[in-house]
């Protein structure tokens, strides 16, 4: 199991934002998580790399249980890459420097090796010619692809995507989704929170629907989109798919 969440609950103060989440993700599985805003999808995914702390239940990532042990947390984070809605590139560094920062300092790689690795991934996401530019000089789509390359440079076994295309102009959404599709084709385990249903249908192995902090439905894309079982799933799909 790449990710195993059992009985996980989380509170923000007195407000329970996640209720008894049970989720198993196999190695190489592509999971899309969707749901209305406020349903806890981002919170759940952020618990997986400990950007949020869960109060009850167990989360095991790549065989390492997430608890308060700092060493375990850093181990999990190095192995699970995350791509954010607002890219979060480091603006004071060039794209190349953004990508080599973590391998050099976390994995103690020498600079030339890290640079070679970074250029490989930048070529993979097709922004090799932007390597020496600063994030502020790139378009939104290019920035998000740079962010994907930056996460890939740590060679993680899992990639977490938190609404990666929500902050992009429509004409740039496709280039990012294409990048994610090619990643999926290479066998990367992916957990993706997104509203892009076309992407879910074509790439996902499984689609999970969350509402009110609970997982309400989980099915293969065909079953999910054509024969939704839960009525709230149906209502949501009606709104999303017009």
């Amino acid at each position: 199991m790449a990710v195993s969440i059992s009985g996980m609950s989380k509170w923000y103060g007195d407000f329970q934002v996640l209720h008894d989440i049970d989720l198993q993700v196999a190695v190489g599985e592509r999971l899309v998580i969707c749901g209305p805003s406020g349903s806890g999808k981002s919170t759940m995914i952020r618990c997986i790399n400990r950007l949020e702390r869960h109060q009850e239940g167990r989360i095991v990532v790549n065989g390492v249980e997430l608890a308060d042990d700092l060493r375990a947390i850093d181990e999990v984070r190095a192995d699970a890459g995350m791509v954010f809605q607002h890219f979060n590139l480091f603006p004071h560094l060039t794209v190349l420097e953004n990508c080599i920062l973590a391998p050099m300092h976390v994995k103690r790689m020498a600079r030339p090796q890290a640079a070679e690795l970074a250029l490989q991934y930048l070529a993979r996401v097709r922004i090799l010619d932007q390597a020496d530019k600063y994030p502020g000089q790139l378009s939104g789509g290019q920035q998000q692809r740079a962010a994907i390359a930056r996460s890939l440079c740590m060679q993680p076994r899992i990639m977490l995507f938190d609404e990666p295309t929500s902050a992009l102009d429509p004409e740039m959404v496709k280039e990012v989704l294409d990048t994610m599709t090619s990643l999926a084709d290479d066998g990367m385990t992916m957990l993706c929170v997104t509203h892009e249903m076309g992407f879910a249908r074509s790439v996902a192995d499984r689609v999970v629907f969350m509402d009110g902090g609970r997982i309400l439905e989980s099915a293969a894309p065909d079953a999910f989109f054509d024969r939704p079982r839960h009525e709230r799933t149906r209502a949501f799909l009606e709104r999303i798919l017009h």
């Binding site: 790399n49 984070r77 979060n88 590139l89 973590a102 600063y134 502020g136 000089q137």
Partner: protein, 364 residues
């Protein structure tokens, strides 16, 4: 029938000419403008005339004596020429004044080398430490045949520069640590940092200087003394650290949380994140208020006059007490002010150059 026209070739035209009113129009266009212009010009010319009269036409040039100055109505530049050494180097022994001069040049050279951000690396820190150690050793003397000169005899420009460099150079890392502690997650560190910062900010610098001069020697074990210049240096450093800490804390607060999240998600440790991602951005954001604090601290060094040390300003005041000359306050203070102005204005222009340089990468 509707026809749709699609134009593909639209050459761009030059912009229409913006006709702005000329200078003459603006200055003399109406009666009130004309009167205002004439009055302003008149006052300016009158002031300029008086100044030229005082500073050039009726001035007493170098080579004349104090008696000449007493008779003349203009500026007494002869005094400056005569007292230049005392103003710049205080009561440092006359024959050894090449040593403080060298120290000033060394400090200036180190500053010039450190200007380019590409030089902001560890080896520049070593350069500064070596340069400062060497400067202090040179001023102190007592080795390689150099006559020993106690710190009580140091004065003038070198003292101002040494105190400013110490206050800002040591105050900055201390300030960064205080700011990080105040924003950190350890409650004890937060409490201590807050107390230190608020206590120091609540006190005037003069009282801190007094406390350092009087309290520090009492706190030390019997028999151990601490140099008076060092005491003042410590007070100035601690004062700078508190103010710089608050400026940097502002920078830290303005950083979007996503930066820290992305760093942690990549697996960077807290210290790696702070050193590589947070501090570079936070400091760049607050270059303007940091410069402000630095300029104020450079001028604050003149307060060491209160604890009996001679910096540039008090050396000037001491020079004025010579009974052979008619105390030309204006000339002396103008000269000292121009030195301060060069330093502070230089710092100000440098900070603007830095800001522009850092903006280049973030331009969209």
């Amino acid at each position: 029938m509707n026809t749709t026209v699609i134009s593909t070739d639209m050459p761009s035209r030059p912009a229409p000419v913006d006709r702005q009113a000329g200078v003459a129009q603006r200055l003399f266009g109406s009666v009130s403008s004309s009167i205002a212009t004439v009055v302003a010009l008149g006052l300016a010319l009158y002031a300029l005339g008086r100044f030229i009269d005082w500073s050039l036409l009726n001035a007493v040039w170098p080579g004349e004596s104090g008696a000449m100055c007493r008779q003349a109505s203009g500026a007494c530049w002869a005094f400056l020429a005569e007292k230049l050494n005392q103003i710049l180097f205080g009561i440092y022994p006359r024959g050894e004044q090449w040593r403080p001069a060298v120290v000033c040049v060394v400090i200036l050279a180190m500053v010039v080398v450190s200007l380019d951000p590409r030089q902001w690396r560890l080896r520049t820190v070593w350069l500064w430490l070596a340069g400062m150690a060497g400067s202090l050793a040179l001023m102190q003397g007592g080795w390689a045949g150099l006559t020993p000169v106690p710190t009580a005899s140091w004065g003038g420009l070198p003292v101002t520069l040494l105190l400013a460099v110490c206050a800002l150079g040591v105050g900055m890392p201390l300030g960064i640590l205080l700011a990080l502690a105040r924003r950190g997650s350890l409650p004890m560190a937060r409490f201590i940092a807050t107390c230190v910062i608020e206590l120091i900010r609540g006190l005037p610098l003069i009282s801190l200087l007094f406390m350092a001069s009087i309290v520090l020697p009492i706190m030390l074990p019997a028999g151990m003394t601490i140099d008076s210049l060092l005491r003042a240096g410590i007070a100035l450093t601690v004062f700078s650290a508190a103010y710089l800490a608050e400026v940097i804390r502002g920078g830290l607060q303005s950083l979007p949380a996503g930066q820290m999240e992305a760093s942690r998600a990549l697996g960077l440790s807290w210290w790696q994140m702070t050193r590589l991602v947070v501090l570079p951005q936070a400091v760049r954001k607050v270059i303007a208020p940091l410069t402000n604090t630095a300029i104020v601290m450079i001028k604050n060094t003149s307060l060491v006059l209160i604890v009996g040390l001679f910096d540039l300003l008090s050396s000037g005041r001491a020079a004025l007490t010579d009974p052979a000359w008619p105390t030309p306050y204006v000339e002396t203070y103008l000269f000292i002010a121009s030195i301060y102005f060069c330093i502070c204005f230089g710092l100000s222009r440098y900070s603007m150059w830095l800001e522009r340089r850092f903006k280049k990468g973030e331009l969209r």
